[in-house]
Symmetry: D2
Subunit: 418 residues, 4 copies
Amino acid sequence: MRPIAFPAVNLVVQKFGGTSVADPERIRAVADHVARTVRRGTQVVVVISAMGKETDELLRIARDVSATRPGREMDMLVTAGERKATALLCMAIADLGIEAESFTGSQAGFLTDSTHMNAKIIEVRPDRIRAALAAGRVPVVGGAQGVSPERNVTFLGRGGSDTTAVAIAHALGAESCELYTDVSGVFTSDPRVVPNARKMERISFDELLEMTANGCPKPAMRSVEFARNYGVDLHVRSAFTWEVGTLVTKEDEDMEQAIISAVVHDADEAKVTLVGVADRPGIAARYCRALADADINVDMIVQNTSAAGITDISFTVPHDELERAMHICESSAAELGASAVTGEPAIARVSVVGAGMKSHPGVAATVFETLAENDINIEMISTSAIRVSCVVAEPDVERAVLALHDAFALADGPSYVD
Amino acid sequence: MRPIAFPAVNLVVQKFGGTSVADPERIRAVADHVARTVRRGTQVVVVISAMGKETDELLRIARDVSATRPGREMDMLVTAGERKATALLCMAIADLGIEAESFTGSQAGFLTDSTHMNAKIIEVRPDRIRAALAAGRVPVVGGAQGVSPERNVTFLGRGGSDTTAVAIAHALGAESCELYTDVSGVFTSDPRVVPNARKMERISFDELLEMTANGCPKPAMRSVEFARNYGVDLHVRSAFTWEVGTLVTKEDEDMEQAIISAVVHDADEAKVTLVGVADRPGIAARYCRALADADINVDMIVQNTSAAGITDISFTVPHDELERAMHICESSAAELGASAVTGEPAIARVSVVGAGMKSHPGVAATVFETLAENDINIEMISTSAIRVSCVVAEPDVERAVLALHDAFALADGPSYVD
Amino acid sequence: MRPIAFPAVNLVVQKFGGTSVADPERIRAVADHVARTVRRGTQVVVVISAMGKETDELLRIARDVSATRPGREMDMLVTAGERKATALLCMAIADLGIEAESFTGSQAGFLTDSTHMNAKIIEVRPDRIRAALAAGRVPVVGGAQGVSPERNVTFLGRGGSDTTAVAIAHALGAESCELYTDVSGVFTSDPRVVPNARKMERISFDELLEMTANGCPKPAMRSVEFARNYGVDLHVRSAFTWEVGTLVTKEDEDMEQAIISAVVHDADEAKVTLVGVADRPGIAARYCRALADADINVDMIVQNTSAAGITDISFTVPHDELERAMHICESSAAELGASAVTGEPAIARVSVVGAGMKSHPGVAATVFETLAENDINIEMISTSAIRVSCVVAEPDVERAVLALHDAFALADGPSYVD
Amino acid sequence: MRPIAFPAVNLVVQKFGGTSVADPERIRAVADHVARTVRRGTQVVVVISAMGKETDELLRIARDVSATRPGREMDMLVTAGERKATALLCMAIADLGIEAESFTGSQAGFLTDSTHMNAKIIEVRPDRIRAALAAGRVPVVGGAQGVSPERNVTFLGRGGSDTTAVAIAHALGAESCELYTDVSGVFTSDPRVVPNARKMERISFDELLEMTANGCPKPAMRSVEFARNYGVDLHVRSAFTWEVGTLVTKEDEDMEQAIISAVVHDADEAKVTLVGVADRPGIAARYCRALADADINVDMIVQNTSAAGITDISFTVPHDELERAMHICESSAAELGASAVTGEPAIARVSVVGAGMKSHPGVAATVFETLAENDINIEMISTSAIRVSCVVAEPDVERAVLALHDAFALADGPSYVD
């Protein structure tokens, strides 16, 4: 296993999450890493979250203090966390003989709309960041914040620091955006379930998006989408071990693709079935609208072509929404012509993801055979070009993950299309 | 005892210290008080410190993170505390149906010099504060902060929130500046030493300045000086009991003055004596300069006219500076012609303060007699127009305070010049 | 106004609440006060709560961690707060040259039942406390904790430190139990509403119980009851100003009684009326039982003798229970024969309390006249031997309090029965 | 690369450090892992540290509160942190349907001596732990604590939780002791310096001890020594990624040994040279004694056999002790007959470690050649059976580490003695 070579780059964005800067010792460790990168001849722009759980803490205090919580004041409050962290990291970098300069979102040129607590970036004008770089200083930017047209402070929402990092990388034309976190990369499966799960060297945006949409918790789906849209390569890596992590890039046409990259699962689901529904246009629209109006996120939907104008429709919802979803469907059962509504709380979804399956038709068959050999019944199936998902009984899901990880020999390293 | 009437005023500045807003419950209590004041028809501008010990905590983290601590970043860091507190208090006030708007020092118009961590106010331009008041909103201003000519955030230093409050009260022409704290007012003596010490209804700036200069810990001397210079009446009171506190005003010529208002003491002193010094010009200047150069604060100085061109000079220094002060004096003893340098660590100062003593000559005699009757030896004496101070042995000082408080019957209420 | 003399006592229990020991500075201030008391020749047993809001914080973390929260582990968790505080206070006292020794509830001899999170004291065997006192050490006891017959740690519940203090004072035969808090005593009315409310020098257990039962928030009613039952004199006072507070004692027959001691109010109430109820036995029992079963605390109940076998029954409930209470009453309206159930959310209660009114019949009349003169309508009336309470419309209550406080001239000091 | 198989074991000790249980989310993640292990049929005993930086925080508060800090009270204080963590983890495990029971060090049977803040374990009597296991419960033991013969709580010192874990594993005959931390294992070199450093699957106690003694920061040397002495296999792994970490075991005679396992370095050193010392017995003893008396830790010592009865002696000391060490050596230079004492602050040590080098003589030569090829001058050399260390100029050390890591191809995996 030859490690991937990391060529010297001119400009990199390094984003550090809250755990990475949770205390003075960690802030100094991050400063040390930033200084090393600078000394190797790379310009660095740092994006930083609030220390540890500070954002959670600020939100909690706000809830304890107030029931109304006006948006303008919430954003004033919450952005104080990143403000502290940027100043502290600049001090720590200064101790190592390198000049650093803290920037709020506003100072860094993040213009947003006026949606408090969930603002969207309209434009990035990083003039002061460019000036700091030109002057040989390390800009340290507070993540997840900007300024509205009314000159009020705005907050991009939880996980918004990743967005800040990708956006500034795009605006500055940085070669790479490194997302430092407390995990060492993206794994072929959840190591809690599959003890010999393997950290991947590289994965495509599309694969990672399928993974995050199907149970892989980190990095946040939103930042992966953003990076794909802007074509900013990500490097997901650890601020604790500092070892090389996982590169997330565009799928390379010339490169051979691993058939299967990962097996992911999501146990937090429940299934609802509308039995004996009339098979006519508009039925799906109706119950989906009703559930959407109730803010229930419907995920996998399966509907068979019916034999005699009658069909069953099944879909999954988050586990703790089952009761409400059942209630809504029962209310409209008559209207939909459904003979019954059944709910199954204890289901889970297992998915295999791999860009190589596009040119390798046998994957689905292998998935189904593997589950069958392990006496695991499949309740629902859904596929995309690079994913096969099966809904199984919840108690079976971890066995399913183990079996599939083994069947595709993922612990041994990627197997390629021949 | 008729309570002082508090006439309705048009505009008041209410300043809340860290203890007063230490947690969500306290912030809501403060919001309730602000709302009550507004409902009684008074416009309120709030100045607020960081929650509880947050400023100390931020300084501590900075020390843990960095040895260099550049000033620009320190001010960025430290002012985050007030930022949080202003936003939270605005939310709590909003819950009570009154609009409030948070302002950083910069937004409130505090222009300062560029001395980071200890900036001085150059000018206050409270346009946005006036606009908020005109719109019927309560402005909540972050204390102890401003903006430098270079548009960097600046910090006025510890205790700077009092200064912010007095300055904004002056700039807006407020009738009164209320300093809310965790004590219920100014007492005739330290209640820890004198159990029946009495809270005063009213005291003059000059008396309170003498008290704070001679051992009374609250309010900070700096804010009293500031208020006197700008003629802003203070009301020192409690944010825990909300009872009426102590008014601090200009001395009123028409009003009769209490002979003695308070007995204060300071036990944290030591005495140095230069024995047998030549009594010629420039001697005092020389050792004072040497001590000042070493950053040692010399307090009470006593020098007798000498009989034969030889004199003894005594002065007090803070207790933990005694060793260094002795060392410096010994170094220059030869030059000063001193035959010996002696140090006495265990001394303390007791002072009686009262504007009425100006027209009532017997006070000093009563002080000396009282101490004599209690077998307390006086080591040094120093007086001003409204103060008599005696240095006594440290173990005697609390007895001295009790005796003097009793001798002037301060627990019974003020006694007036007839 | 002569201050009450505080004769030297042999043994005192000093209890400090969380705010009093919220940070290192406060812990040192408390240690200083304990040391002063010891140096004046009084033996001291200290009872101490967890620092600041630590108990709240521990409960919050527990909720964040677990839905089940087994009682044994909760008590292990929560008592850690007092453990820390006792050790820290002992260190601070040691710095002042006085030996101190920390004791958990178990070590201090507090035997309780096994009701986790709300244990009851069965017996106090303070052998180790007595031994520490005999050895000249200051025992510092963790409040609100004990040990169960199964040798598990138990927690007495919120506010349990007051109970610990009173119980140990009783067990040791202490002369007094001082409850240090962040307020300076018990006031004639809420100073937030009545700016010239006066701190009382002394009040009887019975009066204070009536006050706490009718809206006075501190001290906790439970500790007052406990102290009355055990005949332990309380001294409610401030750990911030250290001034003399309010003595709470048995009513002294020989002493003249103030006619009225205080005006208290409770705005957090709502009124429910059952209209046209059949006036026959068992009716009150039935709805009271139904409400009790739903854990709704019914407070003031008023039922008139009916003219024609039909009556209206009104009672008050906590404001946020109104909806549930209405629902329950409506469910049983038919059974009770009520023609209607009406609810009034915006009511409040004002009460005047005074032991002297027992021998002074005109008090109720003065109350009613005062309210009438101020155009305040009385909706319900309830009296005890030493209290007159009126329910009024919520927007009127603070005016009512001000008017009554003024009518009885409480700001001027107690007025006595002639 | 086949992953190492982890056979089912009967009993495992899982120790979680502070970072692993820093907040509620992390505590629930740890509980999930414990529950999974139990469900796989393995009995688990958990040892846990205080949450996050709580122990540091408690020590800081103690310093803020007190200058004397009596040991008994310090141990009472500090052990409160683990107490909280054990209770919280038990609650989180209970939520997953598995019974858990918290134990203080005393309850777990850790008998220690009476050295407060640094107690030594005398005996472990884990009767209650065995009873809990027999009853199907998961014992959760507070790390780093015990009870003295006087029945006072004792604290084993910083890092003592590892010791607790190894000791209880030994006492119960556990198959393995898993040390969960925030890094994913032991690396072939510091990934901050060598980006392609590789996590090792397995390493021997002796190799790891040489590594920790020569700059590798984790795990603590003390716990490795303890584990080696008691023959308790360690598994150093991550509580964040949960991936398989590094096994630390006895060197296996039958197994082939990697020639070189790791390259470690220590940049925090300075060099002192005594020039022209008389080459006679007792010289080394004399300056070593003088330095030891001053509590200066002398590390690498090199002394050449002299040509003419005169020699140079060099040794390294921690960087911030250089000045004091120089001072001491200069004081005794005359006595030692040294002609000069020189100090060099900017040196560092690089070491290659590998059990296979015992049977593979060329390692040292390769080390020297590699450094020579990279123009890195060697100032001192020291070797053990399984280590070669070179002192080089500090600015060269990271290049030296990179070159040696590359020369032995450590990124490719272990190379074995043929």
